[in-house]
Each structure stands twice: as C-alpha cells, then as structure tokens.
Amino acid sequence: MMKSGLGGPDDNLSRKMRMEVTADNGLVTMLGLFVRAYAAWGGFSPSQAKLVELAFEEAFVNVVKHAHGDPRGNLVVLDFCFEEDTFSIRIEDGGRLFNPLEHPDLDIKKYLASEKTGGLGVHMMKKIMDRLEYSVSAQGGNILTMFKKVC
C-alpha cells in the first residue's frame, strides 16, 4: 500500500514530497527508482542520482529489517526535500530502535578478510551522503535524515 502527495509550504510545493509506505522490501526497487528520478529532477547528475538511490535503498532496507515482526514498524513516512542546494531524505518509522550512526565504522580490510555478515549498507550510506542525522520520534520510533549537496 502506498500513497503519495506533495507537502510542505505552498510557495514551493514541488521541492518537497511526502510518501507513506509500508515497510516492505518488495517496494524497495520501485521506491529507489522514484528517488533516483526525483534526485535527477532536482539537479543531480545521472550518476550522482544513482548514488542517492543507493543510499536510500540501504536506509530503507534497514527500516524493513528492524520493522520485521513488529506491527508498529509497518508504516514508514518518507520526506524528500530540496532546500537551497541540498537534498534531504527523512525516513520515519515505528520499528525497533536502530541508530546507524552508532554502527561502528566498517573496517574494510577486516570485512574483506571474513565471511560477509552485513554492515556494508551503512558504510555505503555514510560514503554517499554528506551528513546523516538520527533521532527518536515522540512515538518512540526512528527518524533518520540524510543530506547531500546537489552535484
């Protein structure tokens, strides 16, 4: 189930977008393609827009992972916003608390020397985006906001 629509201030409608989606891994491809298209529309080069899609996918997959088995985690609110020269993606969910910023930085050498067990996605988000912010919502869910200067 997905509904989408424009949100934000009246004088700048198309620079903001809000979606409410279910925390369903089956949506990730379609949502990612939307994010890529929206990023390109906002001024990112095609290759940078693809990277923004990657960062979004990695963040959304974490939400799905942590919503698993927890009905409160089923609804995810996505806010996309271009403000001045920066694009932000805000992801709010009601799943189990998970702060990717507390995830230790990946030691790529150790990672590559072992059987892979995850952590690459968070590393990728940090590499692609300029800044990540995490907070706990009033309802006790996760809010992750990622920022990237348009390039």
Binding site: N25, G26, L27, V28, T29, M30, G32, L33, S47, K50, L51, E53, L54, E57, E58, V61, I108, L112, S114, E115, K116, G118, L120, G121, H123, M124, K127, I128
Partner: protein, 140 residues
C-alpha cells in the same frame, strides 16, 4: 516494472573450466535472492573459479556486492579466483567508491578476460579502474 533483474550461470571452458555469470539490470535487496541462492549452492558444490560479465548490470547495491564479495572470499580461500569484466559505469562507480576493486581481477572486455584470467604468468588485469580504457594495464 522497468527495473528488472535477470541472470544466467553456466559452465564455460576458458583457460580452465569456469562458472560464467551474466547479470543484467537492477541488482538490489529485493532482486538478489535467486542469484544469491544459486551462487551459494555452487560454492557448496566447490565452484571456485568464476567469471562475471557485468556489462548490463546497471545498478548494484550492497545486497548485490555481498554476493560477489562472498564469491571472491570463498574462491580465494580454496585457491580459486573471481574475475569481473565489461563493467557498466554504475558498477564501476560503486566498486571504486567502496574501494573493493582489489578483491577481483577486473578486465575491460571478454577478450582480455579470456586471455588473462587464470593465466599463471603475464596476466594483465585492469587493476586501476580510474584510468581511461586506453591506458596500459599494470602487470600483476
């Protein structure tokens, strides 16, 4: 949906018998499941020499990368190897950004891969992806 993913794994005879993977489209956390399962099954059957044509793989997230990294990890451990060739711009960009190119032998195209992969001497992989395609490859 526009973003499909398809793949094919087959046996081929290069310098040695190899498992050849052709992957096409959008490899993400939703589309990776079958490829992952099939690669894992092949690894269990002791397939440790792989060549992967990634010319038509336009997008690869960490879910896809981990398939190829595991392939390389288990192959290396067993004395085998993994080569990637004809990388699409999207795959090249991600592997460069994540500094993962050292995990694979990477070749510009099929001919270069077939000439050099699993060659005991004088192999000439495209070791520096940042270089333009006409640059002379470094010797291993």
């Amino acid at each position: 949906m526009a973003a499909d993913f398809s793949y094919k794994i087959e046996d081929q005879q290069w310098k040695v018998p190899i498992k050849h993977v052709w992957a096409c489209g959008h490899l993400d956390s939703a589309t990776n499941v079958e490829l992952r399962a099939e690669v894992e099954a092949e690894i269990k059957k002791k397939s440790f020499v792989w060549a992967c044509n990634l010319s038509e793989l336009e997008y690869m997230s960490s879910a896809g990368i981990s398939i190829f990294l595991n392939m390389a990890y288990f192959s290396r451990k067993a004395g085998g190897s993994v080569c990637l060739y004809s990388l699409s711009e999207g795959v090249r960009q991600v592997l460069n950004m994540m500094e993962l190119t050292s995990q694979f032998e990477i070749y510009k195209n099929l001919e270069e891969a077939q000439d050099n992969f699993m060659q005991p001497k004088g192999s000439a992989p495209e070791t520096n992806l940042a270089k333009p395609s006409f640059s002379k490859p470094k010797l291993k």
